[in-house]
Symmetry: C2
Subunit: 217 residues, 2 copies
């Protein structure tokens, strides 16, 4: 797959089938993940692949609780605004995100594989997120849908306990990526155009190009 196709069509794909992901595919995904750069090339990261239904079954209720908390706290205003004005683009985007994330909450046990990323002594996330994103791009090239969630941080200690993570070594759970063969179609994610969120040399100044429509394909 061409790099630009991967960059343009790797978007949150939460709705997946229960079909397992073959071990050689998982190996290719993880081998690509660790090619990411890390500060000082220290590679202070660990990854955990979770495909044991017993382990997934312990995490599922925590994820459901965390999502319910998210809707009622961080997203409460956006959801209320979306309900008040359901036809705006922003409202539609919010409802799409909510429906998709709620699907994962309702079907957490359907997903065949989860990838957890851990980082040690890195509070910025500049090393672990490129690695997880590499895994998501490599998965896309294999026809596998992924999504990154961080809401399990609400129950950080419970999740670390379920996964057997040592508590005295400074490992921080940066996020959890769901992986599976998608039920839907791939497509280009709509975004606010690059030229509207980019400046040149000074904040607020014109960037010097326009990207009104996606530059791929």
């Amino acid at each position: 797959m061409d790099i630009r196709e991967a960059l343009y069509t790797t978007r949150a794909m939460r709705r997946v089938k229960p079909d397992p992901i073959p071990m050689d595919v998982q190996a290719r995904i993880m081998d690509a993940a660790v090619r990411a750069p890390s500060g000082g090339n220290t590679q202070n990261w660990r990854f955990m692949l979770v495909d044991d239904s017993e382990v997934i079954g312990k995490i599922a209720p925590l994820y459901r609780k965390a999502m319910a908390m998210l809707w009622e706290t961080l997203y409460a205003d956006r959801i209320a605004a979306a309900k008040a004005d359901p036809d705006s683009e922003e409202s539609k985007s919010m409802m799409r995100v909510q429906n998709s994330a709620q699907w994962l909450a309702d079907n957490f046990e359907v997903v065949p594989l989860y990838l957890f990323g851990f980082t040690q002594h890195d509070t910025s996330g500049s090393s672990i997120y490129p690695a997880l994103w590499n895994a998501q791009l490599a998965a896309r090239a294999e026809g596998i849908g992924t999504s990154l969630t961080q809401v399990l941080a609400f129950f950080n200690d419970d999740v670390l306990s379920i996964l057997g993570v040592p508590l005295d070594e400074g490992w921080n759970m940066a996020g959890c990526v769901s992986l599976g063969y998608p039920t839907g179609k791939w497509g280009i994610a709509a975004r606010q155009p690059a030229h509207e969120v980019s400046f040149r040399n000074q904040w607020g100044s014109d960037v010097g190009f326009r990207t009104d429509t996606p530059l791929w394909p």
Copy 2:
């Protein structure tokens, strides 16, 4: 370019030529950057491309000071260890990183383009780092070398002032990517094998595959 070639060969490439990067190439890089996912698809990011030699000239001495501080603080132990045992793989890696980063400090004004990433109300970095990494992967496909640096955070307020970033809107400078046509050759970055940093279902357990040599090409 194939996605796997991009994932395997996009590494920190700091030594570059002064040749400018055409505007249409910059547009393609930024259009790919914004395809990255963000929490709740909020896209709370801004980017600044800096190619004005006057602006670069103001930032250069701060970068040089920041690197000098880094060697004397965070990296002091690793550098001392590398000098004491210069033949170990870890020492060689440390010296490579230091030589490369010091090249950028000594030649900050040679680099034709810098990309700054800013994020609002996102302390985890889970949205901005995939976007910056997308830019680096898209640049790789254009034959452009990049590297992410965060050391300018040492002089955060000075850099924000130089770039005209408003201080009252909660924008956080997540990092700075250098971009230019490389003087060296592309290659696969050596990494601790994925199976040595990955577990399955429980911390410390075998991941179920081996990746002794890179799975690409």
